[in-house]
Symmetry: C2
Subunit: 348 residues, 2 copies
């Protein structure tokens, strides 16, 4: 499996996901601003991967700070963190990662600057390593609920490329496959960026898991025709009541799954749950430009001046979710109580 | 408005809809087989337009028959009609048009061959002219149910280009606009062929009706956010119980509309209703090739060997429909009785 993101000396390298699978090329970040640009331009995407990139980007930014004392170091660091937080608004993992890096900084107040820089770099590496471990646990927890023979529908890419490795929704699929379950996957192509056709199909073919691509609007019809046993997607932010922000189209899948009695699960690390947000309508949904929809492979395919409305995410109310697959187990409804419990069992 | 299809001497010219809106070019059919090819390759598409093309194609085929008597003329004509019927399976308008042409042939049994050919040509012209008239009536009937200020969601292209002119779903929108209603349209881009982005947006911009394109998977979220007042689509075939075959994705829209209390209407001529088919599960749904999804502007965007499942249509059960807008008025549920009544009032 290609690593999504890695250190190379003092630089950060990311697989350029805009070019996959046609071209495997590395996007080199020399400064934290390169990292912010990469997140904005979707060189790297996927909530956990964005969190990891932000942590590594903060470490990169911190490494270039010239400061004689903690106070001035911290001031500069906070500015970088502030910029980083603006890269993309919806995935909460970005803020979560920034908070973890900040906490390391706070506990290093008495260390020399060089030691702080090292602690930050170590923390970014821990976040990456832990994410992969967490995904394996999500995989094992989720695989338990997959039937021994299952047609699984997934949306966008919640795979290795959306995380440090292994994936959330695709981690569940991988783990089920590794356990010997007979799994076949239907992958929504996922307009406008085609993460399903380009990334999910690519990962699953590499893994030897049967995959068939469909246009996003075919998913409902396949459910009605009883061709889908279970739907599993990732998440970009989950409110404390279970309402879930994820790639545009997820809400529709959830409604269609409910209508057709197909279980609908979200797979995500606890770091995707934002306990500070009461419900989904308080999650900021990023609106991206018209060109992502209207310009395909460099050419306007519609009328040149037609506007597009391009929300990158939507909100799925918690009532449509059969469960949230996390590293702590599968959180079941009613979510208000169970989500809180998952966090407290983590602290225990 | 550009005509969708027309006679030019003994040839048939069609706007090549695969190239719109970037290029307005005419596709010339010299033989009936050219017409069949054009329908298969989607040079022309849309249920009513396919019916018109089939009728004109039959006339073209008939014009080249060399036969000394009615029996041998009819035998050759029946072969051509049989080939024509296989061009595309879902839209019933094709069969309806072939049946009308056959009926003309039957009543011409005593005429000389040259007169039969003329009668067939006249019938094909009548079918075209009537279709435009019918669309105007559909427009007026449908406009009556559109609020004075409305955001209308439509899918695929049920416009002038899908018909002889004016359109069914877009005919309703046009008529509402002409009556002075404040209409804005959200057009699903409609993968894989992008009829929404390429054709619907093109027609509406020409008409001066505000249009915004969205990816297909965003429609549900927009409904949830109360941005859509009414959904109107066309139809490729309606069973006698009201179950409706239309462009893939229509079923999902209907379910999402129901879930969000948004009225969902189908606009179609009575010729789209197939009284010989009891319910939607008996309507043949065309499955098209993987390449339509995976190859975009000449290049495989996913892994080269990934299969796709590409049903061109889906079935929306009648229970999701608020009504069927026809030239005879808006047919309301329960459809079993009301559809039959619409036909009998036609014969009266």
């Amino acid at each position: 499996m290609i690593p999504t993101i890695k250190w190379e000396g003092s630089h950060i390298l990311m697989i350029d996901q805009r070019k996959l699978p046609a071209k495997v090329s590395w996007y080199r970040c020399r400064t934290y601003r390169d990292v912010i640009g990469a997140i904005k331009k979707m060189v790297i995407r996927g909530a956990p991967a964005i969190g990891i990139a932000a942590a590594m980007g903060l470490s990169l930014g911190a490494s270039s700070i010239r400061a004689g004392n903690f106070v001035s170091f911290k001031k500069r660091f906070d500015n970088i963190a502030g910029e980083m937080l603006l890269a993309r608004p919806t995935a909460v993992n970005l803020r979560w990662a920034v908070d973890r890096m900040r906490a390391v900084l706070e506990t290093s107040a008495k260390s020399p600057v060089i030691a702080i820089k090292e602690a930050l770099r170590n923390e970014s590496e821990s976040i990456l390593t832990e994410d992969i471990e967490i995904n394996h646990r999500i995989g094992i927890n989720g695989a338990a609920i997959i039937p021994d023979e299952a047609a699984i529908l997934t949306h966008c890419n919640a795979g290795s490329l959306a995380t440090g490795g292994y994936g959330t929704a695709l981690g569940v699929i991988r783990a089920g496959h590794e356990m010997g379950k007979k799994i076949k996957v239907f992958a929504d192509e996922t307009r406008p960026w085609l993460q399903g056709l380009r990334l999910t199909a690519f990962e699953l073919i590499e893994e030897g898991i049967p995959v068939t691509v469909i246009v996003d609007s075919a998913a409902g019809s396949l459910m009605r025709r009883k061709m889908i046993d279970i739907v599993i997607t990732g998440a970009d932010r989950i409110a404390s009541n279970g309402d879930t922000a994820n790639k545009i189209g997820t809400y529709s899948l959830a409604v269609l799954a409910r209508e057709n009695n197909v279980p609908f699960y979200v797979a995500a690390p606890l770091s995707t749950i934002d306990m500070s947000v009461k419900d989904g309508d308080r999650i900021p949904v990023e609106e991206r430009g018209s060109d992502e929809i209207c310009i395909i492979r460099g050419r306007h395919l519609g009328p040149r001046d037609v506007p597009a409305c391009n929300p990158a995410f939507d909100i799925t109310p918690a009532r449509y979710l059969s469960g949230i697959i996390t590293e702590k187990g599968v959180i079941l409804p009613p979510f208000k109580g169970t989500i809180k419990k998952a966090f407290s069992s983590q602290q225990a």
